[in-house]
Every structure is written in structure tokens, then in C-alpha cells.
Amino acid sequence: MNKKQSLVVIGNGMVGQHFLSSLMASSAKEHYHITTFCEEPRAAYDRVHLSSFFSGKTAADLAMADESFFADNGITIHLGDKAESIDRTSKTVLSTKGVKVSYDALVLATGSYPFVPPVPGHDRKNCLVYRTIEDLEAIATAAQTSKVGVVVGGGLLGLEAAKALTDLGLETHVVEFAPRLMAVQLDDGGGAMLRRKVEELGLQIHTSKNTTQIIDGEQCANKMCFADGEELETDIVLFSAGIRPRDDIARACGLDVGPRGGIVIDNQCKTSDPNIYAIGECALWNGMIYGLVAPGYAMARTVATDLAGETASFTGADMSTKLKLMGVDVASIGDAHAKSQGALVYTYQNGASEIYKRLVVSQDKKQLLGAVLVGEVSGYGTLLQYCLNGIELPENPDSLILPHRSDESVGLGPDALPMSAQICSCYDVTKGAICQAIDQGCTSIGALKAETKASTGCGGCAALLKSVMDCELNKRGFEVNTDLCEHFPYTRQDLYNLVVVEQIKTFDDLLEKHGKGRGCDVCKPAIGSILASYWNEYVLSDKHLGLQDTNDTFLANMQKDGTYSVVPRVTGGEISPDMLIALGQVGKKYNLYTKITGGQRVDLFGARVDQLPHIWKELIDAGFESGHAYGKSLRTVKSCVGSTWCRYGIDDSVGLAIELENRYKGLRSPHKLKFAVSGCTRECAEAQGKDVGVIATENGWNLYVCGNGGMKPRHADLFATGLDKETLIKYIDRFLIFYVRTAGRLQRTSVWMENMEGGLDYLKAVVIDDKLAICAQLEDQMQYVIDTYQCEWLTTIQDESKLKRFRHFINSDQPDDNVVFVEERGQIRPADEDERKHFKLMEVA
């Protein structure tokens, strides 16, 4: 049997990681013991979407591989340990921490470092770079004490960095040496359009600026001085002026490097030492460093294939890009600057809509050589396919960029693409591979992504992938499926209408008439919610109980150990000392962990299922009612203290919040609903981050709708201004019922409105102008829900037969012995696994 060889990979960035996963998928996997060195304290993460770190993503969200990837595949990873030197004679790698590993094959994936122009003062305090998560943390720290930030470099990365600074709330400037933004990818016209758009978004752009030095500022910590004599004061300077290959380790061991850096590689990505490969941004191929991830991935796959003993070569890569910079769509394809011999140019510019498009075609007008798109990039996929596959252009190539009426079919249907057309450049997935996956049974985007990896890199090909899939499914006779689940061939909206039109009151009735099978955890809660919204019956009655989702089933929120948390309603966040004491007494009596929620109430954790009725009996006796924290329903109406106490308050926000919460409490909806009311435009209640937000002004109430926090925060849209209370409530009634009637399953108000044809304007037309003539119905429906409100906990504890369920065992009074608490900071918490083992041992002993 052959002894396994040793493979060492230096660098675990995106390309290094892609190499490892490509290798794991190939037959070469069996032949190597793999060791990798990663200088950073964490394994590879997604640098392409780094700025999302500032809009809420965590380092874990950005991770490229599962935590278990290395262990599962028997790869040794040295985190936080840099490979320091290579000894090519003894074929060993030595790390900073003194780890020495010998290799049979070595892959350098050392990446690049940000170029910092050597101007005097470049190393002053808060002069930073933008590449690693540590860099981002340093930027976030610096931003806490800063007002102004400057990004040096107006390229792709520079604008990403500028977005990060804007997200951190800084006045943001971009300083660019060239006369336009994104000088590599865009022409003058495209650069100017991009500039106009990002300036509208609040960025201040300074082009043709050559920084000469950075010195002490007067208003800010730093001052940048330019060659033209101008100056700019700033607290933070963020360098994003390009990258340089990290080739020092290769240089030190005598590998060939380019005159301006970069480890020289051949078509197999081999360096001047045949046992050593280099891939990604550290590698110099044909005199060129590729600063994009897709070519790095292509090199990684080449090496993995070569190691498997098969032939593969890297022969350059397409540098076309499509991205969203600060919300502005920008794309560049091929020869954007029309440098090819005899190239002809078409441009289309729409100043009003801020769209710029440019086509570069061959002299005979038959081939597309390049393109620039700013503001509107829906044609990117089509144009890229023309360019890459040499597909002959239509007679009038400008028809590809001119606006067209919707009934004209312009562009290249996915059907016209050859099977060899590359759909996903990150993972090199062709149309042929996608068709093959469809033939093997992948009939959804999710399944195609899992099978082919297409669209799981930068995601730029998502729309193209979807259109290829739809087209191919269509050809194979599939219909695109919008059914709720396998039991109901309807959408949620269809089912709501069926319930209304046929006055259906139970799941079984609906299933009998319009469904099949026994239902599942998708259709049951969705229909349970529809029935509850429309009929507003007690959700734990025998006919509805089996439909309820985890939390509704016991009218409390299930936690990780199977215990529950209890949240009584505290309308508007207003609570008397006596009520607070009552809450405290209950918490103390049942030894519950207590925490204040973001919705201005108190959450009591660690209640066993058999304790719930006792806890609620005491809470109800003290004057509390259900807070519906367990339901997809109205949660809270948060408020600031308002004009009653606040020196700046314009109106009584607490009073209105209490009134709204009492009006809509108990309303079941497709997703949870949150409201807030602020007493003035200082907006202390954060109403613009809620499904319904109300802000007091001198002229009346302003109504905002369809905002939310959470994973994808969305700022609410201003819906109507200067309303009196009666009109305000009327609009909210209509808005809510229209949402309940027409939204998809688990669809938040924000997504509901964004998917609505006509969007906010249409919603206004329905709710304010009564365009559909349904407002009276909507109001009646809301009035019915209000009139039939019940505190579900009061109903439950009053009915002896309902309490039978609130036990852990149907045939024993024992509690669940798996629920074990330990104490932390003076309160209980669930024991972790180690602690649990300890408890079990103690019990046995």
C-alpha cells in the first residue's frame, strides 16, 4: 500500500479554502496528509461581503466552511500561526510558533496585503486598512470617537470601504488619484454617473487628488494635504488603494517573483520549483495579478486537478464584474475601455433615471467586446454570455441597451445559450452542468445550489441561474410550483380566500375540500393562523390545537431545554410599581430567570410546562393578561415617555401606544407584528424600525409602515402625514387586515410590500384612496377581531379540561429529569452539556 504524501497549504483565505474543498471533492484526497497554516485567528471567511459585518453579520456568518470541516476531513489547521519560512532543500515549512512540517507538495495561498502609499504621516493614529475582520474591528473602534472618515482609493474596494464608514455613521469622503471612480472597470461616462449617484447617497467624492502628507488636524485628528494645495480634515483615514501580492516567503526561499511582485506561475500554477504551487492574489500568471476571487478559485481547482494526476490548466480569467456599491448597481464586462483594434462604441444615457450603458462591439458589429452598465444592470447576464461565448449580435446591437416596451422580447433567452456557457464563474458551473442536475431531479434553486454549487459564491449569477432553471423546467414540462406544501395546491392567499368565500371554520374541513393527506408542519400552522385571523376562535380548542406551532401549543415560548418563558402584556411599556412587584414575586416564587425585553416588558424564563397554569393564575390575579409573545401576532407597541413628561414631547405617545396595543392585541397575522409610537421626531421609540410606526409632529401623527429589525433590518416607509387619531387608526386597521389577507406564509410586512406590484404607491392607493373599494370590509373585519378578543390564558385556566395537557407526563406527576439548572449571576440558567454529565453522575452516586 502506498504511504500517504504530505501536502502543506500556506494561507487559509478564500482561495486557500476553495483549494481544500476542491481537493476534498477529488480523488487526490486519499493520497495526502494535509496541513494548513492560517495566520489569522479564524479560518477562511468571505472577504467579498466583508462590509456586511457592519450591517449585522458576524464573523461566524461570514465563515466559508463548517466548523467541523477540518476535523471531518482529517486536515490539520494551525490557526493564528503564520508560516515563517520554507526550506526547499529539506522540503520543510517552519511556523512562527515553531511548528515544522515537511512537505511533498506545497501550495502558497498567501493572498495580498493592502497597499498603503508611503506618504509622510501614513502611519498616524487611525490611519487604517480594510482587509481582515481585525481591520474591521479596528475601524469600528476608531469610529466610536470619530465624525469624519476618508477612504483613499475610489476603486471597487474603496467604495465598499466607504459604505462601511457610512454605515458606521461617519461623514464619508472618497479621495481618488484618477479622474474618475472605478477607473479600471468604468469609462468616463459610467464613472460620472456612479459619482452622481453615490454623492446623492451622501458620499463626498474628490477625484484627481494626490495625497502628499497627513498631519495634525485642527477640527479633526488628522489633516490630509493634496498636491493641488487643498486640504481635508478627517478623523479616520482608510487606505484602499489597491493590493500587493504577499510574496515575501517565496522570495526568501528563492522562488521566481515578478519585477513588481507576485510569485511567477505557469499554466498548472506551478512556481519555479515544481513541488510548489501558488494560487490566488499572491500568484503572477502571464504578468498579471488577479485581484478577484473567481480567478483565484479557478487556480485552486487547477491545482486540485493537477494533484489528482489529471490534466488541467489555468489560462487566464474573465474579469467582468457585477456588484452593488452602496445600493448602486454597477457592472463591467470585457474590454470596457474599447481598447481593441477598430472597436465601436454605443452609449445610452438617461439623466432622469440615472442610467448609463455602454456597449463595445467589434468593427463588423458581430461580436460584443465589452460593456459598462451603471444604475440598471439587468442585462448583465445576457451581455456577458454574448461576450464570453462569441454569440453573434443582433442586427442593431444598440437594441441591447436601449429601453424597450415590455411586450418586445429583447436580449438572449437562456435557451439561446450553448451548453458550454459558463453560468457561475465562481464555481465554474456551465449550463450543461445545470441541465444535468435538473435531469437528476433538482427542480428548485435550493437543490441546484446544493448539487452544483452554482450561485453560492458571489451570488452574481442568481438571476441567470433562475432563468435557466425556469426555462429548462418549462421545456421538461414542469410548472413552477407556488403551492403551500404537498397537501394544498394553493398559495396562502388562495387559502385565505377559500376560508372567507366558503366560510370554512376548521382545518379538517379545508383539507377535505381542497387538500390531501394529513397535513404537515407547514400547512397546519399557516391555516391555523388564517382561521385565527378570520374567525378569532380560541386556538387551543380541540379542533385547532393540533395546528398550533411550538409556542402557541402551550401559549408560551419554548426554550432550548424544553422549558418555557412567560411574557405578560405591559401595554406601551407602562407599568406601575405594584405590577412590577407582582411580576417580581412570581419570578421569585417559581425561581424564574428574569430579563427585560426589547419590547419594554419582562420575560420570565425556566418555567416547566406543569408550572405554566399556576404562574398564569397568579399573574392574572395580579391584573396581567397574555402578551402573545408566543404567537405570530401583535407583540408590543413600544413608546417613549412622550409629552406628558418629556421636555421635547409634542404629543402623548404613551397614551396612543396603550390605545393601539389594546386595540390590536391578539390579532393573528402571517408573521409577528411590532409597533412603536414616538412623541416627537427625536424618535426615541424607534418607530421607523417597526411594521407600524407612529411619530408625533406639530401637524398631527405621521404614519410609517413596513419596517423591521432582525436579520435583515429595513427602514419603514412614510405612509401618511399630519393625521388625526381617528384617521390614523382607520389606516392602521385597513393596512393590517389587507396584510393578513394577502401576505404569503411567514411573510413580514416589508417583504409583502416589496413583492407587491406597485409597492408603496399601490398600498397607499388601496388603504388611503380605497382603490379596490374594500376599505369598509377591512374595517369591519378588524372590528370583528377586536370585539372577539379574549385573553387566551384566562380562557385556559378557567377550563379544567384544558389544564390536563399542562403536565410533562400524561401518567405521572414527575417532572422532566433532563431539565437541570445551574446558577449564574444570581439567577438560574440551563446547565450546559458538561455540567449535565456532572449532575447525572452525582444522581447515580
Binding site: 404537498e486 404537515c520 390545537l545 406551532d549 401549543t553 452539556e833
Partner: protein
């Protein structure tokens, strides 16, 4: 192996689940009214690591009866205990029947505890 009485049908929750303690084991018992069918699997969710399966929603996927774990919503086949999303994961399933309004079960205790010990040891 003999049938052991657990409770009466009237103690079960229609189209939902309850948990029973049988020979020291937590057993999740589900009752589908249509067809008058009962199923029994262990109550411990090996993925969520809590005794909660009896509180999950039941239904069918491609005709097979399943419960969705209330914690992270993986489905377990009520006849076999096998996890639909990951065939490597399973919970014990037990023979159960309705006998004149009485719910009766066969619990294979030794086999189960061995399985559990294995799992605990490997944690």
C-alpha cells in the same frame, strides 16, 4: 414481549402528542383521529437534546407519518423513528396499539438504555 397498559384513548390529545412515562422511559405518543391510529417514539430529540418530541406538530410527508421537532423542526418518521433530513439520526420507535379504549405499548428497555449509553459516552 407483552403489551403494557399506558393510559386510555381519552387521555390522548386528538391529532397531537402526549408524553408518557413507561419503565422509566419517556415515550411520545401521537394520536391521529382520522384512521384511529397511534404511534410511539422516544420523547428525546437527539438533535435539539431535550425531551420535547411529544410537543411537535404531526402530519405526513410523502404519505409517511411524521412529527416535526418543536425545537429545530427536523422530522422524525413515526413508524421507524428515523430522521427524514438525516438518515443517520433516529430515535427508538415502539409497537403501540389501541385495545378497547386502552393504549398499550411494548417497550424494549434494555436495548434502548444501551443505545442511550452509547450516545452519552460519545458526547
Amino acid at each position: 414481549m407483552s403489551w403494557k397498559y399506558v393510559c386510555n384513548v381519552s387521555d390522548l390529545q386528538p391529532d397531537s402528542g402526549v408524553c408518557a412515562l413507561v419503565d422509566g422511559q419517556q415515550i411520545a405518543i401521537f394520536y391521529m383521529v382520522k384512521g384511529h391510529t397511534v404511534y410511539a417514539i422516544h420523547n428525546y430529540d437527539p438533535l435539539g437534546k431535550a425531551n420535547v418530541l411529544s410537543r411537535g406538530l404531526i402530519g405526513d410527508i410523502k404519505g409517511e407519518p411524521v412529527v416535526a421537532s418543536p425545537l429545530y423542526k427536523q422530522h422524525f418518521n413515526l413508524k421507524t423513528g428515523v430522521c427524514v433530513e438525516d438518515g443517520q439520526v433516529a430515535v427508538p420507535a415502539y409497537p403501540i396499539r389501541l385495545n378497547n379504549g386502552r393504549v398499550e405499548i411494548q417497550v424494549t428497555a434494555p436495548c434502548l438504555s444501551e443505545g442511550q449509553d452509547h450516545e452519552k459516552a460519545s458526547v
